[in-house]
Amino acid sequence: MSSAALAAPAPPNRSRILAHPQDLHCIAFHAICLLAYACAFWLYLHPRFAGITGPWSRAAFVAAAAVMLGWISGIDVGVNFHNHSHRPIFTSHFVNRWFGRFWTFSGGWPSFFWEYCHVTIHHANLLTADDWTLPKQNPDGSFENFQRYLFTHWPWRLMVHLWRDLTARQSLRRRSSRELAIFLALWSIPFWINPVMAIWLWVLPHWIANAFIMNSGMYVQHAGCVVKTPAKPVTHSTVFVSNFFNLTMFNIGFHHEHHEHPRVHWSELPELHWRLKQAMIDGGTHVVPYGNYHAAFLLAGDDARQKRFAEQDSNYTPHL
């Protein structure tokens, strides 16, 4: 892959609908997520089919369904839509815009707001004081407590920052209001069906998706990292090289590569990883052999567990 190829827009393909043939998997993922919500709603409304016989068995069903729905919604927005925000999956702008709106509403986000946070704020200001999408930094540069970030970032801190940013200019204010109205119209659908069901199988999964899946992902991807400078050009992100994690998470583990070349298609990140591997080893990029979930487990723990996160994958240590 040449430097020109890395910066180039997606080549047209035969289908003329999708920007890249592999993006069919993104659509399938989102469609199955919506199907999972529909399935959970139907069983909640027809309890005898799900073996729900009383309040306790209903609570068991809601707990299982809410965790699973939150888990997949976190991936669907935080990873799957994330890729679309960098490289729109359709060749039509109109379809991209509307598919995006129908994509993020099942993760508790207006698509424009998520895209603004991620592309305009996070990617453009990575690890600087202006990157308010990341955890707050202590005076020594380390991140704030893991749990504090998880429970305070979405939606509380985000609402304050988004309000300040998106109401600052009239053009942004108008667009934000329109996107918020479209989001609220879509997001309110489960409440019209059954408000109690919407609380347990819609709002609760969205909180799980954002607090536990997306926020923990943001935390582990940059914990212990430093802002990019000429002296330290490759230590701004951690790389997660677990094969199963990257297979099931659209290669989001190759996070250093993604921040270096955000326009590279997600399916081509493994190839880019091998191309950049030696530079990462030489430059001291933090590489770990597992994925985000185990990293979150380590960083949520005591000092001993956090030290295990700081260990480098043995295949990525410089040869002396």
Binding site: L35, L43, F49, R58, F61, A63, A64, S242, H294, F297
Partner: protein
């Protein structure tokens, strides 16, 4: 023929692998109709615990 088979299996693996989590979620949620909500909850707890330990 072997090459065709290899391509087919490779593409199938990718398709199922990338949709693994939502397919698993549907199995857990719809599975409650087969084995009841308590088994679904147990499998969810085990799956989440396994992810935190291994993934």
């Amino acid at each position: 023929m072997r090459r065709l088979m290899h391509t087919f299996l490779s593409k199938t693996r990718l398709a199922f692998g990338r949709s693994f989590f939502p397919l698993f979620a549907i199995a857990i949620i719809a599975g409650a109709a087969l084995w009841g909500p308590w088994v679904s909850l147990l499998v969810t707890v085990l799956a989440f615990g396994a992810a935190l330990r291994l993934l």
